[in-house]
Amino acid sequence: MSAAQASPLIALANVSKRFGGQLAVDRLSFEVRHGEIVALLGKTGAGKSTVMNMLMGTIACDEGGVRVAGVDPFREFRALKGKLAVSFQTDRLLPWRSALDNAALGLQILGRPRAEARRIAREWLARVKLEGAEDKYVHELSGGMRQRVSLARALAVDPEIVLLDESFSQLDHVTSQTLRRDFSQVVRQVGKTCVFVTHRIDDALEMADRILVLAAPARLAIEEHISAEQRQDAAFLAQVHARIARAMGGEEAG
């Protein structure tokens, strides 16, 4: 492992954030290393989205420091161009673009010629199992297909970090489960670093190497590690599930 890979790709150090008088994030610290898939798990109002927005660079912290790929994502917003990609809770596809052109959007913003962007986007659509749907417009796609395009759009730019903001929560249980499995498989294959926000314990158990359970206002309640072997161990997962549920206040949100 190189020195660059050993150092954290994302680092939050004693980060606090208030909205008005309301404390949303309370001295939160955590690090994410290269290739890790980390879940930020918590109930609604636990501050997950605030943390996600700080990682995206759309809001600044009041105290402490946030570093993403070596820069402050808010103050050096443009420095993360091409290094960070986000998939949101809703697909947020552009309705006037086909599935292929939606997946190519990030690449075009990075300045890739249209033909090359479309070629790469086509490969990514195939990886997320959307062969044959390239020319379909958004209204011709199902909810699950749209979310797959959204994931392809994020991964196609070959970012160092992928942020997922409740990307599977709007889908039905079966579609969500399939998509989670496919996504984590692809992310592990290409070795991306991923932070995802969820309120579902099952999402976190299925996808994450590490689960950070947040309790309102976003402070770290517990941290769980899950190896590939442990992910196959139902008894172990049940124990982790119980610990997380206790830390979240006894019941799963949502």
């Binding site: 759309t58 960070l84 986000v86 947020r92 959007l105 913003i109 958004v138 209204h139």
Partner: protein
């Protein structure tokens, strides 16, 4: 209250349900019905003209045949006037579209400038077209400048306000999505704002085209010695009502052709938009 019709069609209370993806056959049926209605209305109007023309003098209502002959004669001998009017219209609409879009984008982008521009445009919309026509006669010697000035001042506000409305309707979610890729301002305009406002530009064009034709003719009548408006003025002063009616028919048909062409272009460029139909 929901109920199921025998054919499986769901009816919700007094209102029918919107079907966003099932519009194509219904749209084709609607177009056919509209075409039939148009033919019926035109035939009825011509029949009414023919009947009235038998009871009143020719200078009040000539027969449709005389009007059509006059129309063919005008199309043969007055082509230069037709092209001048069309060129004036095309130049004014194109220029107004560009300036209106720019003003709309500026209003949507720069909050500091927005209230000033908006006030200016709203004041402009309150000024009667006739005032601009008379002012243009005082201000400009060149008739082309007069007509261009009049049409531009009348049309720009429509484009500016509609494009601004379009920008206001832009989803915050889409802005956040594109911002997550860290684009430049030009890229945001190119990939997000530009395509988003295209339907608003089409809507404005379809709305103003008939109005623009009327204003162009009116402006030519007041401010120019050439063009269809000036020919209509001449026909009126020489008691040739058949020519007035002939030019009127030409303008109506021209309006329908332009509307059809814009609608065709709109369908081609906005094919991504699902057609909704109410059943």
């Amino acid at each position: 209250m929901q109920q199921q019709e025998p054919g499986g069609k769901q009816v919700i209370g007094l209102f029918t349900r919107l079907r966003p993806h099932a519009g194509e056959p219904a749209a084709a049926g609607n177009a056919r019905r509209e075409m039939i209605a148009m033919v019926v209305v035109v035939a009825t109007l011509f029949a009414a003209m023919e009947v009235v023309s038998r009871f009143v003098p020719d200078y009040i209502m000539p027969s449709p045949l005389v009007v059509l002959k006059s129309l063919l004669e005008s199309l043969r001998t007055e082509q230069s006037h037709i092209w001048i009017t069309l060129a004036r219209l095309a130049a004014a609409v194109a220029f107004s579209m560009v300036v209106g879009i720019l003003l709309g984008l500026i209003m949507g982008t720069y909050a500091g400038i927005r209230p000033y521009l908006r006030s200016l445009i709203i004041i402009d919309t309150g000024i009667p077209a006739l005032s601009w026509m008379l002012i243009a006669v005082f201000w400009f010697k060149n008739p082309e400048a007069r007509i261009f000035f009049i049409l531009t001042l009348i049309l720009v506000p429509f484009y500016a306000l509609n494009v601004y409305d379009g920008m206001r309707a832009l989803s915050r979610d889409l802005v956040d999505m594109i911002e997550s890729f860290r684009p430049s301002r030009v890229q945001v305009l190119r990939y997000l704002v530009g395509p988003h406002i295209v339907p608003y530009v089409f809507l404005t064009t379809r709305s103003v085209i008939g109005y623009a034709i009327r204003m162009a003719i009116f402006a030519e009548l007041v401010a120019s010695a050439v063009g269809i408006g000036s020919r209509m003025s001449l026909a009126q002063s020489t008691f040739h009502i058949d020519q007035v009616l002939a030019w009127t028919i030409f303008l109506v048909v021209f309006n329908l052709v332009v509307q059809g062409a814009v609608a065709l272009l709109e369908r081609k460029l906005l094919k991504w938009r699902p057609e909704a139909s109410v059943r």
